[in-house]
Symmetry: C2
Subunit: 192 residues, 2 copies
């Protein structure tokens, strides 16, 4: 078994724990218990907790933005793209025990307790998502599919906040079904 696999297994467990309860609630012992590898061995792959969080952040951002780019470059119409984008957040909430929010929603809450490289990663993720959303919205407005006043960038920030917040509050009640209903409602308003 090459090290890549173990590294992946560790990152998977860490990511899972962070998405459930946040980075502060995630410990090396928790990861160890989850995957049956001693605490010290995790330190061998990720010397510090910061390095582990950083690695999870990088991987998640690359993976998520890759999916988003796939949607953005597809032949779908803008409204369908937006639905697919929202679907990414809903899908996260469907996974496992249905109590996982977007990784960056969790880290956003803990922003002030994060080291600077991790905090910078969070900020960048927000910017990157809003930029891609803004492009989809512009496209939709040009094609006459969306009817909104104001800057597309601001609407993008609005939708992003809605999805991140929605994923967090929907865990309290209603789960992914509720998040889906909320996003559909938002699209209805946008298409108005």
């Amino acid at each position: 078994m090459p090290s890549r696999d173990t590294k992946t297994v560790i990152m998977d467990a860490a990511q899972d724990l962070i998405q459930r309860g946040g980075a502060n609630a995630m410990s090396y012992q928790d990861v160890s218990d989850a995957i049956g590898i001693r605490k010290a061995s995790i330190h061998h792959h990720f010397p510090t907790k910061d390095s582990l969080i950083e690695a999870v952040i990088q991987r998640y951002a690359a993976y998520f933005l890759g999916l988003v780019d796939g949607i953005a470059e597809s032949k779908l119409d803008p409204a369908a793209k937006l639905r697919k984008y929202a679907g990414l957040f809903e899908a996260t909430l469907c996974e496992g025990k249905q109590d996982k929010a977007c990784l960056f929603g969790m880290l956003g809450a803990e922003l002030s307790t994060l080291r600077s490289p991790a905090a910078a990663g969070v900020r960048r993720f927000y910017r990157d998502n809003e930029a891609r959303l803004a492009r989809m919205l512009e496209e939709g407005r040009e094609k006459g599919q969306f009817h909104f006043k104001g800057e597309a960038k601001l609407v993008a920030a609005m939708i992003f906040a809605l999805l991140e917040g929605g994923a967090l509050v929907a865990r309290a009640e209603g789960g992914h079904k509720r998040l889906h209903a909320i996003t559909e409602q938002a699209l209805k308003v946008l298409e108005g």
Copy 2:
């Protein structure tokens, strides 16, 4: 100096810390350092951390919902009510070092690590806010001020998610000004 004051001082510091970094990042030592009262004395007023969190939750919910009811019962038109409501979230972000989000936004992220009474309090806060928002929206629609399709309850959930999420992500960049811009944009879309 009666005990009520010390209790309040402790709760103020605890609330501040939770709104900044979350309940998991808040420790009795942090509170002690912040207000210059020994750790053990805090235990005298709040035997366990859970009891302290619970007390902060109750107080915040009562205070916040009181403000919301004041807005709801005022003579303002529905759009102005909604602006005032959003203003509560913006005001939180203005306080202190401008890095405080809504208490329940933070606790929502940490929901799975909370004890059941606290978790129940979070759920109730969400329900209570959405119910009040729904009433404002219904009123606005009846008066022809808002034009949205679908259930008012869903739009309420949408706006609440937007504000909770917005408060969290705006801390990363832009602060209260950005949150204000986002909420104004949302109102523009609703009035559209």
